[in-house]
């Protein structure tokens, strides 16, 4: 079981961690049970990993995931997208069966 980040996403995360003044902190990805299609993603800074967390690393960035979320996120790759009017991190999750119209929440 694993999650990962693309090089672009890791580079952006590194910039943001540096800007925040915590270059050594980890990034937490997870799920929460809300939204119009069941589940939605969480993306946060993680200063203190929890006991139940699993840790991964992509391109020098530490990623932490809690055990429950990992069941759903297994195989997920976090990418970063940027264009003139929108930019942000994108979850590419092979387990998603359907998502709501806006893509913000999903079902597995």
């Amino acid at each position: 079981m694993a999650v990962s980040m693309t090089e672009r996403a890791a580079e952006k995360a590194r910039q943001m961690l540096q800007k925040r003044g915590t270059p050594d902190a980890a990034i937490r990805i997870g799920i929460s049970t809300a939204g119009c299609s069941g589940l939605s993603y969480k993306l946060e800074y993680a200063d203190q990993p929890q006991e139940s967390d699993q840790q991964f690393e992509s391109f020098g960035i530490r990623i932490v995931v809690d055990g429950k979320s990992l069941l759903v996120l297994d195989g997920t790759e976090v990418d970063f997208e940027s264009s003139a009017f929108k930019s942000g991190f994108k979850f590419v999750n092979p387990r998603v069966k359907e998502q709501c119209g806006c893509g913000e929440s999903f079902k597995v």
Binding site: L43, F85, F91
Partner: protein, 632 residues
């Protein structure tokens, strides 16, 4: 659709569907071109281009067979082959009535027929159907909305749409209706010149102490001209004055050049294809003359052969000189309205593609005695400012900026004698609310007609009627005792609501003023000009009407008194009083307010004894049955 996330602080991930920022845009719905802009990933306003990289969408809509609708360049391409199904410059028809358009000498002939539509609004007759200007504008807005939603990655939450400073209530309402029809939530309508000032960040202007300053926005587009004088105070904008001419722009430059070409060739034509070809050549020559001192253009002769013609920048400047001077006239008037001199202006902003013409820049520099600001693309400035404003209104950015606009014409009420009482004067910052008290004219009057008018003149017939309604249920009282409070409210979009209430009973009536059709800019111009030139005449008329109203009031009172207490007079006294009233009636036939006023005061003197006796009788009646001691 992919959903994009930001990294949040621990435990602060937002609930789904509540994440900011809101997707909002600014839209410049122009006469010839329309644009849409939004705040980019870099945090700056940026125009959203189509798939070919073009930002400007021609404001042209083609209604094809089998109910297909084309917008923009695709529609423009049909203008020559299907002129009756291809609508351009629809902005000129927004919120206007058929009669009004037909009486407007500046209205150009259109290949499609104009019909009388719902609520007095004009409609456009196409071969297979009838469309309203609101529907046509909605097609343009839909195309921009679609483009924006693709670029921003989701449905729009709102839009700021710009309108010319001179748009009246009906035109603003029509613009709002078009946006709603296109599925856009209008956060606010903003005057185009005001949006331009925002794009230049004049609100963040640091050069002057305490962020204060005066600015002029000179906007010369394809078919319209607008000038605004803005004041920045403590970072807050206020529009001091606006002015304009909706029939002046770069298209007129093209026409002047095109006419010059025909006269150089010594010919004329009515062939639409050749006229179009000459117009296109004129436009190309105009654009080339921005860089070059002289250009040579190949023009088609009637026989199809090509002939080269040369034109210099200075000749072009001569051809448009009178057009520029007419903008100067409007600018000076706006400065006068604002009480501002050119020396006091901290900056002048150029807006509109036509301000690229060197002769225009030179003229503006001379007019305002300073070099105008022109760093931003003058075609995009309005849309960029609208996007900035939309971002603020959506709460995406914290700012103290408050945007104020003004009323283009005074708003008032009809009072006795067909006079107009101004409640909100011209150039009052909006939103605003003002109340004025009125009273009844006759004894026992139980209703009052409220007639809302727009304009600068003194008489009802010279102003434009916006709405009428009646306040009923006023308790019967003697004339002058009722207190009717009439409140005018103009919201942030410039739309007017009038309410009237009777203070003693709390009876209230109100009406949202949605005029059946709008005033043309030509009419507004004319009304303003008339107000200036007829100022003295108007005042004389006003005095005359006031004198007549007063005369009628005292005659009414005398008539009532004679009926009630006529027995107090002997026959000769009665004749004396009636003669006095007769002289006053006679004087009403003259158009001399002084004579009327003289007769009013003469009658007042001549009937004093009668009033005295009535008063005595009143006192006696009050004391009847009481002993004098009770009053001591």
């Amino acid at each position: 659709m992919d959903f994009l996330l930001d990294i949040a602080e621990p435990g602060q991930s937002a609930a789904p569907h509540s994440r900011r920022p809101q997707r909002v845009v600014g839209i410049d719905l122009g006469t010839t071109f329309s644009l849409v802009a939004a705040i980019s990933s870099e945090g700056e306003p940026l125009c959203i281009a189509d798939s070919e990289g073009k930002c400007s969408l021609p404001s042209v809509v083609h209604y094809g067979d089998r109910s297909t609708v084309l917008v923009g360049e695709a529609a423009q391409g049909k203008a020559l082959s299907h002129p009756q199904q291809t609508i351009s410059s629809v902005k000129r028809l927004m919120g206007r009535g058929l009669q009004e358009l037909q009486s407007d000498s500046q209205q150009q002939a259109t290949p499609w027929s104009l019909l009388d539509g719902e609520g007095g609004m004009v409609c456009i007759g196409l071969p297979e159907r009838v469309v309203s200007p609101v529907e046509v504008s909605a097609e343009i807005l839909k195309a921009l909305k679609l483009r924006a939603e693709e670029a921003l990655g989701g449905p729009l939450q709102g839009a700021v749409v710009t309108v010319p400073a001179y748009f009246d209530d009906a035109q603003r309402q029509a613009t709002k209706d078009a946006a709603r029809l296109a599925g856009l939530q209008v956060l606010r309508l903003v005057n185009e010149p005001t949006a331009a000032a925002l794009a230049y960040g004049l609100d963040r202007f640091e050069a002057a102490a305490e962020r204060q300053g005066l600015f002029a926005i000179y906007d010369l587009g394809g078919g319209t001209f607008d000038i605004s004088i803005l004041r920045l105070d403590q970072g807050v904008f206020q529009v001091l004055a606006t002015g304009g001419n909706s029939r002046l722009g770069g298209d007129d430059f093209d026409q002047r050049l095109s006419r010059e070409f025909f006269s150089l060739l010594g010919e004329e034509t009515a062939d639409p294809y050749r006229l179009q070809a000459f117009r296109q050549a004129a436009r190309a020559a105009k654009e080339a003359l921005t860089e070059a001192e002289e250009v040579t253009i190949a023009l088609p002769r009637a026989d199809g052969s090509q002939v080269p013609l040369s034109i210099t920048r200075s000749r072009f400047a001569t051809l448009i000189d009178d057009l520029l001077r007419s903008t100067g006239l409007v600018c000076r008037r706006a400065m006068k309205d604002a009480g501002v001199t050119p020396e006091q202006l901290q900056g002048v902003v150029l807006v509109g593609g036509s301000t690229r013409v060197p002769a225009v820049r030179r003229y503006v520099a001379q007019l305002f005695m300073q070099e105008p600001l022109s760093d931003l693309d003058p075609d995009q400035v309005v849309a960029l400012g609208a996007a900035y404003q939309a971002d603020l209104l959506a709460g995406n950015k914290e700012s103290e900026l408050l945007l104020l606009d003004v009323t283009p014409l005074s708003l008032g009420l009809e009072t006795m004698g067909e006079l107009v009482e101004k409640v909100i004067p011209r150039n009052t910052p909006i939103p605003t609310a003002r109340a004025q008290e009125f009273t009844t004219f006759k004894d026992g009057q139980t209703a009052m007609a409220i007639h809302v008018l727009q304009g600068e003149r003194e008489l009802v017939s010279q102003c434009r009627s916006l709405a009428r309604f009646e306040l009923r249920g006023i308790p019967p009282m003697v004339a002058g005792a009722a207190r009717i409070r009439v409140t005018f409210r103009v919201d942030a979009d410039g739309l007017l609501t009038v309410s009237a209430s009777e203070e003693t009973t709390g009876m209230e009536q109100s009406v949202a003023v949605k005029p059946s059709y709008g005033l043309s800019d030509g009419q507004i111009e004319q009304m303003l000009r008339d107000a200036l030139t007829h100022g003295v005449d108007d005042m004389r008329l006003r005095l005359l009407h006031e004198a007549k109203v007063e005369a009628e009031r005292v005659l009414n009172a005398l008539r009532a008194a004679l009926q009630q207490d006529g027995d107090l007079l002997n026959e000769s006294e009665r004749q004396q009083v009636e003669a006095s009233a007769g002289r006053l009636l006679q004087s009403l036939l003259s158009d001399n307010h002084e004579q009327i006023n003289q007769q009013v005061s003469r009658m007042d003197k001549e009937t004093t004894f009668f009033a005295q006796r009535r008063m005595d009788r009143g006192i006696k009646a009050a004391m009847q049955g009481h002993h004098i001691g009770e009053f001591a």
